[in-house]
């Protein structure tokens, strides 16, 4: 418990540091991109929105730094991240809110599936060395060593294109209105198959390999020999004794990978022009949409920290040795 509290304190500190950095960076950058944008859009931005942007980007220099800092925090806590320039006049929080489900849906689901499938195959490969799964390994390793960008483009070139079942870009048929209905859902699924498959192909072999190697390591432990000597069924030895222990390092790896769902799959979304957060960030960078960039970075930071906390909790739950009595 003490350990967990220490970790939480550390993550809170890190979050504070990241947010504070977010506060200072625009204030230290020479020149004033936001000011110029505001002037360019003069008259189209409400006074409130301008005030909010001033707080976020340090244009309210008539106030003391401390006052600015307090105002900045107050605004963040209210969920006000300013207005996006690209999607003007939509607030950043709204833009993020509309693209987050796409990322979580595509990358989140594939991350989980990849972990589960890869781990299961790794258990099989490590327990029965030389089985058909081992034969699969060189292929999956090869696929995972291809830079993702390339893999995605090859997949598009091979499988997508005029007349193909797989669309090459987007998250749904243009013209459809996002809704949970019989037109939109199938279209969204259809658009997600190719990017999902490429993510699986490129990320799964990591799980297979690490799980396989851990299984091989664990298999030579004394307690495995004892489990065999006890006459337990092969299944029980493999799962409850070997896999249970081999899983430990992978679970924290998995929790950490959850943190990168939001930010780490930029390439997938860029290649497939998928309307998720990564693609959004890409566009924000291209159009110098500073408020949006800052908002997305904030979300990424927080999700990485939350994932770290999850990893700690998972380890604490799964490995009794970390629980001090």
């Amino acid at each position: 418990m003490r350990f967990l509290l220490q970790r939480v304190a550390f993550y809170l500190f890190t979050a504070w540091a990241a947010i504070t950095l977010n506060f200072f960076i625009p204030r230290m950058v020479p020149g004033d991109p936001v000011q110029s944008l505001i002037s360019r859009n003069q008259g189209r931005i409400s006074a409130d929105a301008i005030a909010s942007l001033r707080v976020l980007f340090g244009l309210d220099s008539d106030r003391s730094l401390w006052e600015q800092y307090v105002a900045y925090w107050g605004q963040l806590l209210r969920g006000d991240l300013g207005l996006s320039f690209t999607f003007f006049p939509a607030p950043v929080s709204e833009v993020i809110g509309s693209s987050l489900p796409w990322t979580v849906g595509l990358v989140g689901v594939t991350t989980i599936v990849s972990f589960l499938l890869g781990t299961a195959l790794g258990v099989g490969a490590g327990w029965r060395r030389g089985s058909w799964i081992d034969g699969l390994l060189p292929a999956t390793t090869f696929l995972s060593s291809i830079p993702y960008f390339w893999l995605g483009l090859v997949a598009i070139a091979l499988f997508a294109g005029p007349g193909s079942f797989f669309p090459s870009s987007g998250g749904y048929e243009p013209g459809l209105v996002p809704a949970f209905d019989a037109y939109f859902i199938p279209s969204a699924l259809q658009h997600s198959i190719l990017p999902a498959a490429t993510i699986l192909v490129s990320s799964m072999s990591g799980w297979i390999l690490s799980m396989r190697n851990m299984m091989v390591t664990v298999a030579s432990e004394d307690y495995i020999t004892v489990a065999h000597a006890k006459g337990l069924s092969e299944r029980r030895v493999a799962l409850s004794y070997a896999a249970r222990n081999a899983l430990l390092p992978n679970v924290s790896g998995f929790a950490l990978s959850l943190g990168f769902i939001v930010g780490g799959t930029l390439l997938v979304e860029i290649v497939f022009s998928y309307p998720g957060l990564g693609f959004q960030l890409f566009q924000a960078v291209g159009s110098k949409d500073y408020p949006l960039m800052q908002g997305i970075f904030l979300i990424i930071t927080i999700s990485v920290l939350v994932a770290n906390l999850l990893a700690d909790v998972a380890y604490l739950l799964l490995d009794p040795r970390t629980r001090k009595s």
């Binding site: 004394d222 004892v226 069924s233 409850s240 040795r321």
Partner: protein
Amino acid sequence: MSDQVLQIRGLCVDYGVGADAVRAVRDVDLTLHRGEALGLAGESGSGKSTLAYGLTRLLPPPGVVSGGQVIYHPADGPPVDVLTLSPAKLREFRWAETSIVFQGAMNSLNPVHKVSTQLLDVIRAHEPKSTAASRLARAKELLRLVGISADRLDSYPHQLSGGMRQRVMIAMALALEPQVVIMDEPTTALDVVMQRQILGQLAELRERLGFAVLFITHDLSLLVEFSDRIAIMYGGRIVEEAPAARLYAEPLHPYTEGLLHSFPALHGPRRELTGIPGSPLDLRAMPSGCAFHPRCPKAFDGCDEQVPVLGAPYVDDPARAVACRLHPAVAPLSR
């Protein structure tokens, strides 16, 4: 019911196959009688663990049993060759008939499972019809048997001391009341006081429950005290076999003599500690003739050519056997 419970006949174990194979256990004959404590001693690397793993079919790769038989005589029913049991029969045989306490007993418990989980699952695996309550009662009783309080069932291995973990392993080994318990250096990692305490307790339990023990250690002085009969191993072969007291009083094989001078005796007159000159055998470069001859202080003409075989050196003492040309066989081995 046969007086013998385990007969090892001509057991050979190799590491590797083909040209690279080394033979770690050579043509071993060994008999364990019901309720007896048979000690197996020899320097580290002499093949004791390999023998134990071989006869229970637990050899880690690249180990393979390359010959021989391991005949087990159940309390009821006909004898079986452990080496030819089907996988299902082997699982039934394991632990219920022959359990093992391993050399690495410190790591014999899975760190992520509670003591109770590891104690109960073996009972459930072998007695699927037993009720959860009866299994729990048995587990508590077992811990009590080895002097551990029942609330330790909820502990994880890392919460127990080394001595306690070892006791848990002994309790576990007795869970199904096997006929044979193999102990491979069960107390080597413990301090001397703890060692003797546990072995004393084990002797008591053996008296009470009547199981036979194959007790393996490199410390011959422990065996002299805690076993009925002792077999000495060198280079994968049994080189001497005798009742414990006889072996201690009158070691015949020069290697046995060397071993007795390698450890301080716990009781009785002090012996001079001289150890054995030379280094333990390299299986890849087995000497010709008697494997011990390069280190043997008593080697004589022909020891580097003729392989001495295990035989009875005394007509009137069939319990003794030795493989040394100084003590040629005068009577056939009775087994």
